[in-house]
């Protein structure tokens, strides 16, 4: 049963990653791209989880935690930066 599950999830996650990459490429604004790359990181994390579940090990757990931290810090930083850069022309 596990090879079947692995195939299904691989196809589904590849489609999802493709969708996120299309949004990164097309995204009209920087924030759209940040959001989409956050989703791409989450898809990567999902792939790591499935690898751990199917092969029964925990080696990826720290990688998973650091991926979510990178996503968090990245999107917060970019959101801050965008807010700051756009505010100045408004005020002047």
């Amino acid at each position: 049963m596990m090879p079947l599950v692995l195939t299904i999830t691989a196809v589904v996650l590849s489609l999802a990653a493709g969708g996120a990459i299309i949004r990164i490429a097309r995204g009209p604004s920087l924030l759209d791209r940040v959001l989409a790359s956050d989703v791409l990181l989450a898809i990567l994390g999902a792939a790591l989880c499935i690898d751990m579940a199917v092969n029964r090990h925990l080696n990826n757990l720290m990688l998973l935690v650091s991926i979510s931290i990178i996503g968090f810090v990245g999107s917060v930083t970019v959101a801050r930066f965008v807010a700051d850069r756009r505010k100045q022309p408004d005020e002047s």
Binding site: A16, A20, I22, A36, V39, I43, A46, S68, A83, K87
Partner: protein, 130 residues
């Protein structure tokens, strides 16, 4: 191995298989939402909510497959970290998006923040809307 044990194993395997497939589908749902929703705010919904459930289901699958009790605390901690960080980053992105006018007013049925922002911009002071 006696047959009883076998069937329990099979059930756990089946449950975790279902969890994995549904968890992967959640990622696909997030991607579909990203592609199909019209503006940044509604894409934000698509980016945050399925992620949380997807990671929950996949971590459950990992816990079920490893079949040892000591992995559950670290999985729970990983999920709680995600619960704490996802709303914060969604809020930051949403706030930046609102402030930089990434909204399509024709897609909003009401905007109760706009009046407050206008008032604050006019007065440059403390505002109390209610």
């Amino acid at each position: 191995m006696n047959p009883d044990q076998m069937s329990v194993d099979a059930v756990i395997d089946a449950v975790s298989a279902v969890f994995m497939v549904v968890g992967a589908l959640m990622s696909l749902g997030a991607a579909i939402g990203l592609l199909r929703f019209p503006d940044l705010m509604s894409r934000m919904h698509a980016a945050t909510k399925p992620q949380v459930l997807g990671l929950f289901l996949l971590l459950c699958a990992v816990g079920l497959q490893l079949r040892t009790w000591w992995v559950w605390p670290v999985l729970v901690v990983a999920w709680i970290f995600q619960l704490l960080t996802v709303p914060v980053s969604a809020h930051m992105v949403g706030r930046a998006g609102y402030r930089t006018k990434h909204l399509h007013p024709e897609l909003l049925s009401a905007d109760e923040l706009e009046a407050v922002v206008q008032q604050a911009a006019g007065e440059h002071g403390f505002t109390d809307d209610k």
